[in-house]
């Protein structure tokens, strides 16, 4: 396998698509040793935007569509949809929750898994900061979830990898993640069905699981390098689509320029 060279194209930004983009970059890097892509750790979507605006990068990743003001002079190109799922720690046996239960858990009304048919263990709630995209998706999509205040005992993760680490560390915990981040983590964490609907590419495509996040690339068209163009072309290629689907994502058609 070709290793990323020192002058490889770096695609900074959001943590949610980090896992799937790493998989895409890995598949892309074997095609041409002269064109290499590297996916650095999360700098959040805002970091990706800043890198493009300040010409610190030619291509960045975001997990939400930039506002009109943020996107001035930039091109936003969505490439996949990823489900946002509730995830539980390894000791939790519960695999399905209703929307109201979820709201009660995160607000601190339900504190024991035993009340939900699980073991007699405290529910460790892990949330994201309020600006974070997966939280926004859930707040927007789950009515009871929309207005709750999180339990004062809840821990706050500021990156996907922090969420994964906390879920992994505390076996009776519950949090939420993008499905691709969960798959890429290779842990014994488990996704929950919501109101009986499991999140996968099919339910996303059918719309039966509506809680999805959109991943996109941002760039200034005039500054795109040959490698960046090739990488974008690869993401929208058949091979790129296969990688996305294998990560549980729904590939999106390429929007015309």
């Amino acid at each position: 396998m070709a290793s990323a060279s020192a002058d490889a194209l770096e695609v900074p930004g959001s943590g949610s698509p980090e896992t799937i983009l790493r998989a895409l970059a890995e598949a892309f890097n074997v095609l041409d040793a002269k064109q290499q892509v590297r996916i650095p750790p999360s700098a959040r979507s805002v970091g990706g935007l800043r890198a493009i605006q300040h010409d610190e990068a030619v291509l960045a990743r975001v997990s939400r569509r930039p506002s009109a003001e943020q996107g001035r002079g930039l091109r936003y190109l969505p490439f996949a949809k990823d489900a946002v799922v509730f995830v539980v720690g390894e000791r939790v046996r519960v695999r399905n929750l209703g929307a109201a239960q979820v709201a009660d858990i995160f607000s601190g009304k339900l504190t024991e898994w035993s009340s939900l048919g699980g073991a007699r263990e405290p529910i460790r709630v892990i949330v994201r900061d309020e600006d974070e995209t997966t939280l926004k998706v859930l707040r927007d999509g789950i009515e009871p979830f929309r207005r709750i205040s999180f339990s004062p005992n809840a821990k706050v993760a500021y990156h996907s990898h922090e969420m994964v680490a906390l879920l992994d560390r505390f076996g009776s915990s519950i949090g939420f993640l993008s499905l691709s981040s969960l798959k890429g983590a290779h842990t014994r964490l488990a996704p929950l069905a919501l109101d009986g609907v499991k999140a996968d590419a099919q339910s996303l495509l059918s719309g039966s699981y509506p809680h999805a996040i959109e991943y996109g690339l941002i760039f200034k068209p005039a500054r795109l390098t040959a490698t960046a163009r090739s990488f974008i072309d690869f993401i929208f290629s058949e091979a790129g689509g296969r990688v996305l689907r294998s990560g549980g994502l729904l590939p999106l058609p390429r929007e015309p320029a």
Partner: protein, 886 residues
């Protein structure tokens, strides 16, 4: 307000301003760069402090873990808890034991024991919560079997806790927790390690701080939130307190904190101030240097500018007699004012000059017209004077009357020459003369010019000789008339100022380049010479060597000026070498074009070769001898020379081969040519030799003498080459032809006519002339040729006369009242075009300006005779046209 501010001050001001702006820009950029460097240093410092905090916490966690590990293996505690787990009894013992242990735990503020159901059994900190299950993070996880460290939000606030399971065999019977509160005390302890102010914050609140309450209030939660949102540090510098506050985000253990680090930046700010101070000093130094350099440069620029300004003002004053107006402003303004004033005045001056030129041109044209008119007006009476004098001289006169008449004639000739000179000079000066460019025979033209002075030279007893370079081309292109005028003026001048000796004319072809040749004509005399002081002036108009010269020798002094003008027009120049009392040599050059294959008028037929013929030249005059030798040698003849009759006889006697021809000068001291010829003829062995004689014009041997001595031909000095060669040919019997064939028809006819002035022509002439004097004179002249003449007073009368009868020749005046000569000629020619006989028409006109002859010929006339004309000239013209074929 326009003060007279020197340009120097303006330039200096601008330079200073530019320097200040540049220095200020450099200063600002440098200060900003220094700030950036300072911030980068502070950033590194903040990061390393974050690392220190993280490390400190890890060490603290390790300490707690060690403690927890030790406590969970405490045998007494395990035994008591085991009993309590089994029976629910013995809690007091447990509490007592825990209370005993607690003071010995360094820095621990959180000390708890929970049973296997996560209920609090002992708690050192408040509230005690005995029997509660507060759900604090870590206890349940420890009950699951592993030691866990956690940052927990509990009823006692935020704390760092390490919980470890207490085992009874393989069974977990409880959890021991040690830790400490993350509070101000903890923050102060951390700050002690980092030597900074440290605060721990969430997005919503400051959780713990080492800062005094007053400073704690200055922590910005907005910047904490921004640090969280942007995931990168934020910095705030406070120059007053010389501190920098960094807002960073760190994940410690399992919690993300905003860490606010207040750093003492005294040293950095001092460094910044020192650098700024250095920058200020450097800026001032650079500005001063730029000022001095600018002053030097300005001085270097302004000094010549000021000189130029003064010069311009002085020029205005000098040329126009007044100073340029001063309107303030700097040197360039003043210079501009001076130059504008000068330009305005010069333009006005140029306008005046243009007007003056127009006036001058008009005056010049008026002068030319005046000259033309005067020429005509003077020539008309002169025609009467000279013509009548000619007629008078043909009558019976006593010696005194003849002398008087001849004086009138010569004075008239002189006056005519003067008029001609003035007219020529004026025309050339007025650039009214254009040179012709026609093929002509060079040799003949030169020889004719020289020949014309034969009488004058002879009259003064001067030897006049001419030598033409044998390499000179026969035919060239140029203006033969003006070339002849040059030669005429030079020879006339030489003869005039030479009392005795010789005048030698030499013509040499010099450079031949690209179908053009330079002809050098030199005229050497043995006359009075020219003083060096006046040599430069003699080519100026109306200038002779001195005033007495004019009085003594006469003349206008225009001849040489005309020569110089003509040579310049012909692309050459004229020079003089002279030695007072010994003579002068005038040397002039002219440019002529070669005329290959072009036939010149009156060309001489090619002659047979004279190569190898032997000739003896006998002449006492060395120059003549040399010229003859040169001319004959050039033809391939074998030439011997002798300076006297005796020497000639000796040469003849000693010759191994007999000579074919003897060329004898008539006038020689001791033994003249005639006597020598007699002696030669007396000697039988020289009987076959041909004899040719050379004489001056005045000599004319009787035909009987020529026959007696067997003289083959008689040449007149100066000898023209064509005549010489013709003579030699004739003498040797190589080619039949006239001895004087080289002479042009006009010249021959004129001389013949002069010689036989009263000869009969018996022609029928129509004289068209309105001037009664001219008419009478012409009638008298024609009468002397026994011509029958009808007079018409204008063109119309002429036409009437021609309608009545035919004439041999028409003599036509040009300017007449009614119908002038040009119009009358045109009518005559139109009528003749109908098939009638063409009557020769000769123009008689006092219009001697250039172009007159061409105008006459264009009108249909056949020839041209300028007034005043001589009897001989008239006869020559009549003879020529009387004999011309129809």
């Amino acid at each position: 307000l326009r003060s007279r501010l020197s340009l120097g001050f303006v330039i200096l001001g601008v330079l200073l301003l530019v320097a200040l702006i540049a220095v200020a820009a450099a200063y600002l950029v440098n200060v900003r760069a220094m700030h950036d460097v300072l911030m980068a240093k502070e950033f590194e410092k903040a990061r390393s402090i974050g690392d220190i905090v993280e490390l400190y916490l890890k060490e603290e966690v390790e300490k707690l873990e060690t403690l927890a590990q030790g406590l969970k293996r405490d045998v007494e505690l395990t035994a008591l808890l085991k009993r309590y787990d089994a029976t629910g009894e013995g809690r007091d013992d447990i509490v007592r034991l825990m209370a005993d242990l607690f003071p010995d735990l360094p820095d621990v503020t959180v000390f708890e024991l929970a049973d296997r159901r996560a209920r609090i059994v002992y708690r050192a900190q408040q509230p005690p919560l005995f029997g509660d299950t507060p759900g604090t993070w870590g206890i349940a996880e420890a009950l699951a079997g592993k030691r866990v460290s956690v940052v927990a939000h509990g009823p006692d606030g935020l704390s760092l806790r390490v919980s470890a399971p207490i085992m009874a065999g393989s069974r977990i019977i409880g959890v021991i927790t040690v830790g400490f509160s993350i509070d101000n005390r903890f923050a102060t302890e951390v700050a002690r390690h980092t030597r900074t102010g440290i605060s721990f914050a969430s997005e919503r609140a400051v959780l713990a701080s080492s800062l005094p309450p007053a400073e704690r209030g200055r922590i910005s939660l907005g910047l904490v939130k921004r640090a969280f949102a942007e995931d990168r540090p934020q910095f705030v510098g406070d120059e007053d307190s010389r501190t920098t506050t960094a807002y960073t985000v760190r994940n410690l253990i399992d919690e993300t904190f905003g860490i606010v680090v207040q750093m003492d930046s005294q040293a950095s700010y001092e460094q910044l101030r020192a650098n700024e101070s250095l920058l200020v000093r450097l800026s001032i130094g650079i500005s001063l240097f730029a000022l001095v350099l600018g002053a030097l440069l300005t001085f270097a620029v302004i000094r010549p500018l000021r000189r130029l300004q003064l010069r311009a003002e002085e020029t205005v004053r000098t040329i126009f007699g007044e100073a340029a107006p001063r309107r303030g402003g700097n040197e360039i303004d003043s210079l501009a004012v001076s130059l504008n004033t000068m330009t305005d005045k010069l333009l006005a001056h140029v306008k005046d000059l243009a007007h003056a030129k127009e006036v001058a041109v008009a005056a010049s044209e008026a002068k030319s017209m005046f000259l033309a008119n005067m020429s005509h007006e003077i020539r008309t009476p002169m025609n009467g004077v000279l013509g009548m004098t000619d007629l008078l001289l043909n009558t019976e006169l006593d010696p005194r009357q003849r002398r008087y008449a001849e004086t009138v004639r010569s004075s008239g000739d002189l006056l005519l020459n003067i008029i001609n000179d003035i007219l020529d000079f004026s025309k050339i000066e007025a650039r009214k003369v254009t040179l012709e460019n026609i093929p002509f025979r060079l040799r003949e033209t030169v020889e004719e010019a020289v020949q014309a002075f034969a009488r004058a030279a002879d009259a003064k007893g001067l030897e006049l000789a001419c030598e033409i370079d044998t390499q000179a081309p026969d035919t060239v292109r140029g203006d033969p008339m003006r070339l002849r005028q040059i030669i005429n003026n030079l020879i006339g001048n030489a003869i005039k100022f030479t009392e005795r000796g010789e005048v030698i004319v030499k013509v040499q072809a010099r450079a031949l380049v690209a179908e053009r040749m330079t002809l050098e004509i030199s005229v050497r005399d043995t006359g009075i010479g020219i003083e060096p002081a006046v040599r430069e002036r003699i080519f100026d108009a109306f200038s002779q060597a001195d005033g007495s010269t004019t009085r003594r020798y006469g003349g206008t002094g225009l001849g040489l000026a005309i020569v110089r003008q003509l040579t310049h027009m012909m692309g050459g120049e004229v020079q003089v070498e002279s030695e007072p009392g010994k003579g002068s040599t005038f040397r002039c050059t002219v440019q002529l074009a070669l005329a290959h294959g072009e036939a010149a008028p009156d060309s001489i037929p090619a002659r047979a070769s004279l190569h190898g013929a032997r000739v003896l030249v006998v002449d006492d005059h060395a120059a003549s001898r040399e010229i003859l030798e040169h001319q004959l040698s050039a033809q391939g003849m074998v030439v011997a020379t002798a300076a006297s009759g005796a020497a000639a006889l000796a040469t003849l006697a000693s010759a191994k081969q007999p000579f074919d021809i003897l060329l004898l000068d008539v006038h020689m001291p001791e033994m003249d040519g005639i006597e020598l010829a007699r002696l030669v003829r007396a000697e039988p062995r020289w009987g076959a030799v041909r004899i040719a004689m050379l004489s001056s014009v005045r000599d004319d041997a009787p035909a009987s003498l020529r026959e007696e001595l067997g003289i083959a031909c008689w040449l007149t000095k100066p000898v023209r080459q064509s005549a010489l060669l013709g003579c030699v040919h004739d003498a040797l019997g190589i080619s039949a032809g006239a001895a004087a064939q080289g002479a042009p028809l006009d010249d021959r006819a004129e001389r013949a006519a002069a010689g036989t002035a009263g000869g009969s022509l018996r022609l029928k002439i129509l004289l068209v002339e309105d001037n009664p004097i001219n008419s009478e004179m012409a009638l008298a002249m024609l009468g002397s040729f026994y011509c029958r003449t009808t007079v018409a007073e204008n063109g119309r009368q002429a036409l009437d006369a021609l309608a009545r009868e035919s004439f041999d020749i028409v003599l036509m005046d040009c300017q007449m009242p009614g119908m002038d000569g040009f119009e009358a000629t045109a009518v005559i020619r139109r009528k003749e075009a109908g098939g009638g006989r063409r009557t020769p028409i000769i123009a008689l006109t006092a219009h001697a300006m250039d172009g007159d002859e061409a105008r006459c010929l264009a009108a249909g006339m056949d020839d041209y005779l300028a007034k005043p004309f001589s009897l001989g000239a008239l006869r020559a013209k009549l003879t020529r046209w009387a004999n011309a074929p129809d």
